[in-house]
Symmetry: C2
């Protein structure tokens, strides 16, 4: 009976696999309740307007309509969990006004006996708008003084931070590198649209909402505030969820609030589902950034100064105005141990659709800029790009410059080493071919992400482990699983910690009524923060169990271990007691005891450990068409410990695909505030045939604060793809495209410019 792991580290199938593949799993759209009404939303046709008057009389007299709600009756709920920190900040969560700030901003909603009637009734609502001047360009909006999208002006958030001495840093530099980068408004494109809610406001004043939010426990508080209820009177139940990627963080704009008020008015359950078009136009997307970077570097390639200027377009509301801006600073500062750095960033309102959380949360933006510029540094100084990263990255024992959080696990060297080997980095020049119009090139980049929000936002987690009398375990957790599989990972962690078979752990539904507070699934936190909390709860339960076992079999508790459901003396493995026997005795045989073994853990993690990663990409670029073909992508991620390697690989592969889309094809296109590509014909995500060969390397550095050494991998996986691809394209054809996505046109433009430059030089 050794100490090897029994289920952690194994690719066990997901606990919900059968439900999902057989179609028994119920997603939001599948929900039906007795007496349920169907709701639809009336949305603004204008990017910026005052709603002067709404006449719902005609809609209300539609024979199938049961309730109507308007913008005048409901608050918009805008903001992240940070707003719960003080009563004052919390007030700022709720905006109640009659202004619409982007095309498709909700104006009213109707609940009817069927969806067709609800749609009909929308056309019977008469709205009088006073159009207001609209702002679409963030740089213009920043300067604008007269037209104010929000009362406080158009700057949603300003972040200015300096570490070290930036001027001195540039003085110490031998070279200065500067450039400007622009990123796109990528949409999460989850398989299931972000937008079904069933609200049921009981006559007893209790509200039950079925919502696929990533943060059921947080939106419970938000909704309680919006509806003026005590928190215990709101219950959020999360159905199976078809992907989130940040898009289900908190509430969906207008959805749950309007649905709940409609239910309160109608006295019946109300269901509202957005179409895919509504999802594209009226739910959150990745913030587009404009980034100006300036690096000071010694001739040996050591960074001495980093100056970052950022403007982030948050759209009409900016629920995540500070977050991704701040995070791009944090990741920008943390990746390299540059002693002098400055970040000057603005989050700016425009009359465009919403931006919010999206996998990576500011990191893909800064990484694209930073790692493109690092590539230029390497080229200029003649240092191998891998070598340049190794010289500068912030590794083991170093501290984060902003949080002082120490790097306790560092797999960057291994990522770079294994990645380069697998990719054949040293031999890349040999593979450079010219086949017709196609030019081959290779690029790489590095990245650092972190797990959880320990130093930036409230990040509580909790879990309850309850032993059943046969030794099986019910694990009660409110940690949302959006499809990534953290429920399976939790069961693995609990089983491992408790020494019982994986099959003997069941997980509760994600239901805020009965699960302890978990702040939600975001920031790659569930495996790390959630997992360590589950482990802690299990350890507490185990400690009580072993104490009882110690009394029963007369062996000191610290000499007892559990394996395969048997508690045994490590010094005399023959001596032991089955967990099930002990529990039966405690709960049933001993009438004086009757104790159920329960372990509860709540709190935050001690750290927000870095996860390191690297991407190596080989591309072929067609210089006639600008078409980019990814020949090969090798990526390596230091995940601490892969609790479930198949899940980790799935996360990485999925993230890389999002990263490739970010690099080459994706981004909402707007004109005068209107989203032009609101469907999968016009918005191009990768199709199966677009997917290149992806080699995934899992590196395990054993994070000491993580459960069994694990860190969270989700968000890192798409943070460094675009930069590596951009660098590979540059390597192939000499064109450095600084604006995402890197379309064929931009490459051709670049080639064209080069041609002109060469033409200029030629004579």
């Amino acid at each position: 009976m050794g100490d090897e792991l029994s289920v952690v580290g194994k690719s066990v199938p997901r606990i919900d696999a059968i439900d999902k593949v057989t179609g028994r799993a119920k997603y939001g759209i599948d929900l039906k309740m007795g007496g349920m009404l169907y709701a639809k939303m009336l949305r603004s046709p204008y990017p910026h307007a005052r709603v002067v008057k709404i006449d719902t009389t005609r809609a209300e007299s539609h024979p199938n309509v049961r309730a109507v709600v308007t913008i005048n009756e409901v608050p918009k709920v805008i903001g992240t969990i940070g707003k719960l920190r003080t009563e004052e900040a919390k007030k700022g969560l709720y905006i109640q006004d009659n202004i619409v700030r982007f095309i498709e901003d909700p104006v009213a909603a109707v609940a009817a006996e069927d969806e067709e009637s609800a749609i009909e009734a929308l056309s019977l609502i008469d709205v009088e708008y006073e159009q207001l001047p609209a702002l679409f360009d963030p740089l213009q909006a920043m300067e604008e003084k007269t037209v104010k999208i929000h009362e406080g002006g158009n700057i949603a958030f300003h972040l200015l931070k300096e570490i070290g001495d930036i001027e001195q840093g540039f003085k110490e530099a031998d070279y200065i590198f500067e450039d400007r980068f622009v990123t796109s408004k990528q949409k999460q494109c989850a398989m299931e649209p972000f937008s079904t809610c069933v609200a049921d406001y009981g006559l007893d004043g209790r509200l039950t909402v079925h919502s696929s939010s990533q943060r059921p426990h947080v939106i419970k508080i938000y909704l309680a505030g919006a509806l003026g209820l005590p928190v215990d009177k709101v219950r959020i139940i999360k159905p199976y969820t078809g992907g989130a990627f940040g898009g289900r963080d908190y509430l969906i704009h207008g959805l749950e609030v309007m649905c709940s008020v409609l239910s309160r008015k109608a006295g019946r359950p109300v269901k509202m589902s957005f179409t895919r078009e509504e999802d594209f136009e009226a739910t959150e997307a990745r913030h587009p950034f404009i980034l100006e970077l300036k690096f000071g570097v010694t001739k040996d390639g050591i960074l001495t100064a980093m100056d970052i200027k950022a403007v982030k377009d948050v759209g009409g509301y900016g629920p995540h105005a500070p977050g991704p801006l701040s995070n791009s600073m944090r990741k920008g500062f943390a990746l390299y141990k540059c002693p002098n750095a400055r970040f000057d960033g603005y989050a700016v309102y425009t009359n465009k659709s919403l931006c919010g959380a999206f996998r990576g949360y500011g990191n893909p933006q800064i990484n694209f800029a930073q790692e493109s510029l690092m590539d230029a540094v390497a080229e200029k100084l003649g240092i191998d790009p891998v070598e340049l990263r190794l010289k500068n990255y912030r590794g083991l024992g170093e501290k984060d410059p902003l949080t002082a959080d120490e790097v306790r696990s560092d797999g960057m060297k291994e990522c770079l080493g294994k990645g380069a080997t697998k990719f054949g980095w040293k031999e890349r020049e040999k593979r450079k071919t010219t086949v017709g119009t196609r030019r081959r090139g290779a690029g790489m980049s590095c990245l650092l992400h972190t797990c959880g929000g320990r130093f930036s936002i409230p990040d509580p987690a909790a879990a309850t482990v309850m032993f059943n009398s046969d030794g099986s375990v019910s694990l009660v957790t409110g940690a949302a699983d959006d499809g990534q599989g953290n429920r399976t990972v939790f069961a693995q962690i609990a089983a491992e910690e408790l020494g019982i078979p994986f099959e003997q752990v069941s997980l509760s539904d994600t239901d805020t009524e009965v699960t302890p507070f978990d702040s939600g699934t975001h920031g790659s936190r569930q495996t790390y923060v959630g997992g360590r909390t589950v482990k802690k709860a299990a350890a507490k339960a185990k400690a009580v169990l072993l104490e009882y076992a110690s009394q029963r079999i007369n062996v000191p508790a610290d000499r007892l271990k559990i394996k395969n459901g048997v508690i045994y003396d490590v010094k005399n493995p023959e001596k032991g007691i089955r967990v099930s026997d002990l529990l039966r005795k405690l709960q049933f045989e001993d009438l004086d005891c009757g104790e159920q073994i329960i372990g509860v853990a709540t709190g935050v993690a001690p750290s927000s450990p870095p996860i390191f990663g690297t991407n190596f990409v080989e591309v072929e670029v067609d210089i006639e068409t600008g078409e980019v073909h990814i020949v090969k992508l090798v990526c390596a991620f230091d995940v601490g410990k892969a609790i479930n390697p198949a899940h980790v690989e799935g996360q990485i592969t999925g993230g890389e695909l999002t990263g490739i889309g970010y690099a080459l094809t994706e981004g909402l296109v707007t004109k005068e505030g209107r989203v032009l590509n609101n469907n999968f014909t016009d918005y191009r995500i990768l199709r199966t045939c677009d997917v290149p060969e992806i080699d995934v390397i899992i590196v395990e550095s054993n994070e000491p604060t993580g459960p069994f050494g694990a860190k969270g991998v989700g968000e890192a996986t798409n943070a460094g793809t675009a930069s590596a691809i951009a660098n590979a394209i540059y390597d192939a054809v000499g064109v450095r495209v600084k604006e995402l996505p890197i379309t064929q046109e931009k490459i051709l433009d670049g080639l064209d410019l080069m041609g002109r430059a060469e033409t200029k030089r030629a004579p």
Copy 2:
């Protein structure tokens, strides 16, 4: 800010009142699920038979039938929680054979697309029976050696117990009193029949059962055993329940097991509901007893010896074979401090319908006999019946002769005093009137019941108190509320202990997946055992909260109290912090903390305290028709502390009505094993117009081990009614009817006998 109670002791409305009165509350029969099938049961037409062959071919080929299950495939689950104490005992829970033991014993069940098809399909099942000799009389069954209803014979359980020295006791007596009493087979007659179940066996091997069981957590274990599943894979969800009274203890014979197997076979949810007739014929009723009592009494009326012989008819299975027999001994021994007592009791199988748990659980039977005989003692010795009880009852500081549990709270004197005064006991003779053929008389009796099963069966309880960040509380409990209102009482106890408003406590659904183990609602245990567990969980949460508060406001924790959601310094009440402010700081403001305050309590109660009660009844008996009219009923119960006086009054009134029915009208009538009165036309429960004036006196003795002094009242309330009524009838017309129910015929027979006796004497 004094120490007076804020919500305990107040008749707050039930937390589920609005749901219930508006019809939104969903009972078992209301449940519907997508793809749900409807099941019906095929039942034995014979009281005792071997099922030789079942051919389900024709039923299975019915176009709407989706699954068929037979007696050959499923175990019968027979037994109480005591069977979970050892692995060996647990095996005895499951009987799998092809014998049917009473008319209507399940033989097969069918699940079809609709109920009509299921009923049709039943007639397509071909069953070949081999009839076996049937036994209907328990005394005959005891002696019978050849015909065995179960393998081990017809005696299900034998209990022989002696305390003191019974022979010596009789020697010390001046008088010996002896008599024989027979009780009836009363049916619980809950408003909602005992018999709807929806089972949903998922493809992932997890079984969810919606069942109104009084013991969701216990039947979870039972069902797991019956289906060969780990306990964590079975989930019981309890819908709103329309009364239980013991009839929903554990599983309903055949219901949940067959329904679950049908669902497993069909791969779809299956609903089965019994008709009222099936409820009468095939679910459990109160055990009929034959009791022979012999008392030794001094001339001063002091009991010196009690010899009790009991034969209990358990019907075909005897799931509660030991329980009510043992309990009648326990209550018989405990009520009076008679030093010498013997109980010799047999539980005997007959081929009749099931008997099981029913409010009082053996106490109404023994009380009817014991208190009838005590009445004879009082008459014979010329001692006032009240005085006789005061001389003999086991009061404060005395110990239970079997468990050594000390009487820590004793309201018997107050019950007798206040009851007698309110009733006008001393003036009763003055009210004796003779109006035409109607004769008036008064009678009284005493009773003792206990709360919970601390010394007889495993009796664990558990509760979890979780604070929300606004100071409201979610209380997670698996304690079944069958309609009596313990959920409201728990909310009161939690609110009182925590010092927060009652409205800010919400209760979880009764769902075994997420609630900690509670052994169920039985034995008047929820207010006492459940309530003290809730209080303990709340106290644990409060202790953590006050510790944090102490750190924040710099006042020692032991000087802090909470009132109206404010934590304050008792020495300086101006100094304090709002609970909601503190919690917000802990969970959200302080990024280093993030702790949710959670209190968990599990275990058993230290005692099973006695609840005392008395009934005073005045009747008019018509000597021509034998009709009994109850003029007035005054009852007094020592409930320790009435957490919710309106609930207590409701419990008492309801229990008294059951007691009156037990005394005068109720009881299943069988002929050759067939229930003749299987409906409310033939089985007479009290109608509104039959309900007499009932004066309820609540006595509060403050039980030190109870939550805020409370004890449980439910079961005591019908234990002493029949004896008091019998005594009043005797007082009115001189007829002592010793067999329940006391029908008009029996009174007329008695009068007739007296008449003949007088006639005999006359000449």
